[in-house]
Amino acid sequence: MSFFGFDPSKPPQGGPSESYDFENTYDGLGDQLDDADDALNDETFGGSGDVGKDFNFGATKGAAPPPPQTVSYARAAVATDEDFMSELWGTAKPQPEVSNPVSAGEKKILSLEEIEAQLTAIDPSRQPQQHPMQPFPQQQYGMPGMMPMQYGYMPPMYGGQYPGMPPQMMGQPGFYGQMPPIPGQIPGQMPGQLPGQLPGQPAHGQQMPQGQMPPQIPHQIPQQPPQQPPQQPPQPVPVQHQQPVQAPSVETVPEPVESVTSIPTETVKQGENTPAVPLSEILAPSTREEIAQVASKKSSRPVNLSQFPVLGSKSTPQQRSNRPYHHQNHHYNDEDDDGEYHEPLILTPEQQIKAARRQEKVMRIMKYSGIMNPKDKDFVTRFQLSQIVTEDPYNEDFYAQVFKVIHPKPNQVGQPQEQNNSIAQAYLDQSGHRLGGRYKRADVALQRMQQQVQRAVTVAKERPKLTQYVREGALGRISIGSGKKPRQQLEIFSQAVQKGLEEEGETGEGETDKENKGINVKKLNNAISNPAINTNLDSDSIKKYGRKDIMGILENIITNLMTIESESRLSTEVDTNNLWESLKILEQTSPRVNDPKEVNPFIQCLNHEKALKIVSRLFKFLSREQILTIATLIMSNLGNLDVIKHGSYTTYEDKKVPSKYLKLIETYSLTFTKALMNSVQDFKFNEIIGLLVILIEHNNVSFISTTKIGLSILTTLLSRAELIRGEGTISAADLSEWSSCYDELFTALESRISLIFPPNDVESIESYVWQFLATLALGGKLNHQRIIVDEVRDEIFSVMNKAKALDSTDINNFYKKQNLLNNLNMFLVVMGLVADENEIRELQT
């Protein structure tokens, strides 16, 4: 508040405790204050008698302005409404200092009296000055107007002036004084009021206390002709500002300064930023009016303007003019003022009319003063500022805006976020980021997979089944020996065993390079499963992607995705070419690599959680074909995914997947698996077969089946194929293709099916395993089912025993038991069987 020396001035003014105490000021303000003020004034100003009245509020540009405003407001308020005043006092914290002066001025009575006194007292010479002053006031008003807007209160005279005034003006001690000189420019807009004020202020310099600014404006004003018509607007003002002329008014200025102080930063800013003229023009009317009103009301002599000419005689007129304001400013002037004021002022009819008009205007304006208290204004200001800070608040405040929508606070005060809500909601809809976020929903993907499997099972059951023949011997006594391609099976069987053996052998032996076992396994897989593919690739054409490269590519993808998401909020047509290019799906698609850095970059990206989190967002902007391409790439590169490579218990000595990878696997289940599930719904039967074939050709199926994600993918594809098959619209060609595909898959798994059960599974809830078995059994013929049952018989009984061992009296155990049996039965039901903890029975339908 007191940046610009307001403080310094204060002590002098405020010296009396009264200044701070509103009540005190209010009551006895005038006289007492005057005395004190005078004394203080002398101190501050150096004791120049004349100066006292002249306070150039303007002089103290920065600091001074605020106080004046308050004062002016206060006065205005008083004029209109006492309550308003009291409210001001009570609430306005920053203004306290100012308030003192204001308070003095505040007293309606006082102010009126004073004004009258001023008017009367004003010497003819002064009067002229006043007139000039008036013009200033206008300017001030203009300025003030700005202030008022902000604060809500219209500083009647000073405040208005100061704020409106250009910094220079503000700074200049004798605003009014200046004004007067300038009067020509600024017609006596303020005449009545200003005059009073100006005259009141005898000693320009003295008043200036705040006067830090004072000297700036030479006392040209006095010289200026009083002629200026009071009402004439600020037009001249600009000139004034430019012109040092105002300086003369310096004396008067002090008051303005005060007002300035009251309106701390804002005022200052205004003064600085805005040319006095524009502001004054805009606001001027009101402020001027206010001032005029005050003056006119109180003294009904606004007319003093006539005296403007006197302005030239700076001191006296100015002093008086100041007076009214002085109250605010300070008592210093009051003394002088008092004397002067007491002198009766006579208004000409013209003046009276003008005054009345002004009063009217002021009244109109004042009607709305005080509606907002300082807090309100502060809030509005801050709110406006926050909105102004950026043209795109949503972008700037993105996190908070979206966060509020996602996590609404019940007790949050309604805020104007309505518009943003829709944007934020759109963001959420598109990004679906919650699924990948910290707050994870239930395992949606796995649930859906289970549902799909169950549906497949249901569909399958409705078909005539081979299984019926087998029920009896389902658990081992196989009565029907099917021999579906026995020779083939044997071949493949042996091959599978060989694979396994080699795999295990190689994983056991530490290779020379840093690559871990998982990578070895992968390489092995590739070598074995793609014997036909020549491994001698042209190394020159192969790019190696370092970690930083991958992270760069991945961030680039995400950035493109976010760009597209925000574009799609604006238009439905979105160009996804960039996004697709950035995926680099078609680079280095070969799954067989000598160095993990040579793996397709997108596949490498999938080893990072943040890539997984965006998969479903990504798929929203890709065409079916593009997604199919991605799926194909992934199927051929399964062995290159960390979740597969490092996700099999078989590669670890303790048969446990490290927690580091478990976490990644968990993320996969929540993100990638879900996205795949959704995509697969759109794939055609032959496409699914194609994916399976690719998967089988390029990977060690047996190894993959020992990983959770691998098994989930198999389950997803198989169950979807089974569902489509259940629809019965498959061509014979497709069916036979499916049949051979299944056979190939089955032979890859045969003899190793029990390995899909991870050991050390404490929870023993391998629902995904049973889902897979159910799906596998569904697609198979009788002999397949027989083999499956045979291989997992131990697991079946193991589950039953576990279930039996659980004490059902414990509610938790009861659920656990149900869970175990439900999972098991998902598989058994396919073969028309159902198990409880004791036995396996035929399913009753």
């Binding site: 790019k543 992607y545 370092g546 930083k548 760069g552 590519i553 961030e555 990072h608 959680e609 943040k610």
Partner: protein, 86 residues
């Protein structure tokens, strides 16, 4: 390392931090401190938010003091360097 994208023209230092979003980073701080955690957010002042962070306070003698924090904002003016860790 980046044999592929060495030609990436417009890679700025802050991009390297961006690459580490949602990844684990090591942040070296004034006052003989380090912080490891998953980078959840950053700005151009190197203000950061890390999750599941471990703070290491080193002193002349013996082992550093280790403090855990699930979610922490680090003011950028304390940051000396940020490094990826895998």
């Amino acid at each position: 390392m980046s044999s592929v994208q060495a030609d990436k023209q417009t890679e700025e230092p802050l991009d390297l931090i961006r690459y580490q979003l949602d990844e684990t980073v090591l942040v070296k701080l004034r006052g003989a401190r380090e912080m490891k955690g998953k980078l959840q957010g950053y700005d151009s002042h190197c203000n950061m938010v890390l999750s599941d962070a471990k703070e290491y306070i080193y002193n002349e003698t013996g082992e550093p003091i280790v403090k855990d924090c699930e979610m922490v904002f680090i003011r950028g003016d304390s940051v000396i360097l940020i490094s990826p860790i895998s």
